[in-house]
Subunit: 318 residues, 2 copies
């Protein structure tokens, strides 16, 4: 090891192996102390109704062995992995993933038994939020929301400089209600109107034809398609409603928008800022900004959790 | 002092003087370590457009001198006082009280110069919430909201075991929007539909006659008055909407209802629990309970802050 140390820089904490388990695929890579990702790859998320959590861990173990074999010059000292759904990070349990199928699965304990390394476990959106909060688009805020908006909507919530967990239930913003744009006497879940997935689905339903995603709906709106314009405007209203709720409840200073919808950039953010402004009566307005770390925020957050196992100083991220 | 110490109990930390500055009157009293209040009194809140904060402090100084003279056997070691509006507790500043008229007033520093004792300063609802959270209706929760619902609505928000401040802006629940029951295409502020004050005002407006308060509207509803029933039902819907928002954002376990509306008891709480249940899709339901400390929660919270100046152990409250 001594020979690897240069005389001009501290070697910093060692490499860690990180996994971000998603609904479709598992992202993985060795993450160096500066945040550089080596060997980034995607593997299909296994589906096993009889043992959904165990099937995921089996893939992680196989991938870990592959990284050890392929990158002998980067021996990792810890593993971090994050999963979606409701997660109790302190207890190391996946409470519920209705999509992937587990319920009260003891991920952390099983992973420690299976992988030959210290293991850190967490919530995907929470970890992505931690990365944005420490080193990304919210790094100058004490009070922030990092919203990941794709198929659904979830958020990491930061108050007075720390992420709040609520026993695993905090940040389920997609399940908060907003006025139903189609029937104002009712309310609907935010993610059924304001998510990237719902924008595509609602346009397809209104126009009677399939689209590839929310980005195509945005392009149609830009070219004058009235149905596309309406669906986007309704999504922005719904998102603004929920952001304004957070500001009143929490005094949120910074809102980071990530996930698939963030590709819309200022076409989303500029009208969203105006719509939030219209809904607030107190003399305070949040900054609304795009993700800085992008689609690797979850993986970098998993690495951050692994590195915290090794060192009270989490080291640098990009 | 030694002679006051009995041989059967620790004397605990000494008495403190507490003030709860409200829109109509200033509550004050000497609070003993066990939470007993001695010399509880109310004095009119002064109105002085040229120096609204200074006028309040002059009353506090006069009252403090009176307590020293009247209770020589209870020499207080610290003073705690709390005020309404937007408050930056860490900086010791009253950011804004549109009702009482100050803006960016340095209460803590001025009070220290004026009163001959260590001074703790805070937000009235935040302090009331701290008292409920430590020793009252939320004492078994890590994640709680203490809502004070009277003329308006404000809340103290507790996440993962601590109160969040948001730079003084957290807890402004009364300014969060809810669907407008009179025009579902619009939204209105929660406190314009769900506060005790608005229940009285909306009934008066609908029925064309004045009432003494929300309690009278409740009695009218119980005796079959349709307008009174409608106004109460709309208030419960609005409160349930906002409570469900908090649960989705924060994972709130316990909601404490205080302020004037809490006098309605189970006539409010039972339908409110049902209405919150109807709005939640995740497998989690908050407990919704009445205040335990009642109208003195703010004063006890002010005492708690004062006692924290004297001792890292806040001592007992009832």
């Amino acid at each position: 090891m001594d020979t690897a140390v240069t005389d001009t820089a501290s070697p910093g904490p060692g490499p860690v192996l990180a996994f971000d388990v998603g609904g479709t695929d598992i992202k993985s890579g060795i993450v160096l102390a500066g945040g550089r990702i080596v060997g980034l790859r995607r593997s299909p998320t296994p589906r096993d109704a009889s043992d959904p959590g165990g099937a995921v861990l089996a893939v992680l173990a196989r991938l870990a062995a592959g990284y050890r074999a392929s990158y002998p010059q980067l021996p990792f000292d810890a593993v971090g992995f994050v999963v979606p759904g409701l997660v109790d990070e302190d207890a190391g349990i996946g409470i519920l993933s209705s999509n992937l199928g587990w319920r009260d699965y003891p991920f952390a304990a099983r992973a420690r038994a299976l992988l030959n390394a210290p293991v850190a476990f967490g919530h995907d959106v929470g970890a992505a939020g931690e990365a944005e909060f420490r080193s990304g688009a919210a790094r100058d805020s004490e009070d922030a929301i990092v919203m990941v908006n794709g198929t659904g909507i979830a958020a990491a919530i930061f108050c007075d400089g720390r992420r709040i967990k609520g026993g695993g239930y905090a940040g389920e913003l997609g399940h908060a209600r907003v006025p139903d744009p189609d029937d104002p006497r009712r309310t609907v879940l935010l993610e059924s109107v304001g998510s990237a997935g719902s924008i595509a689905a609602r346009y397809s339903s209104a126009a009677g034809r399939a689209v590839t995603g929310s980005r195509e709906v945005l392009d149609l709106a830009s070219s004058g398609d009235k149905a596309a314009q309406r669906v986007w405007a309704q999504a922005i209203d719904a998102l603004a409603f929920s952001i304004a709720q957070c500001v009143c409840i929490l005094g949120t200073e910074t809102v980071v928008i990530g996930g698939g919808i963030s590709g819309a950039g200022e076409s989303l953010l500029a009208p969203l800022r105006q719509a939030v402004d219209d809904r607030l009566t107190l003399p305070m307005r949040p900054r609304i900004v795009p993700t800085l770390l992008g689609e690797n925020a979850g993986l970098l957050g998993a690495a951050l959790k692994a590195r915290q196992l090794l060192d009270q100083d989490p080291g640098g991220l990009p």
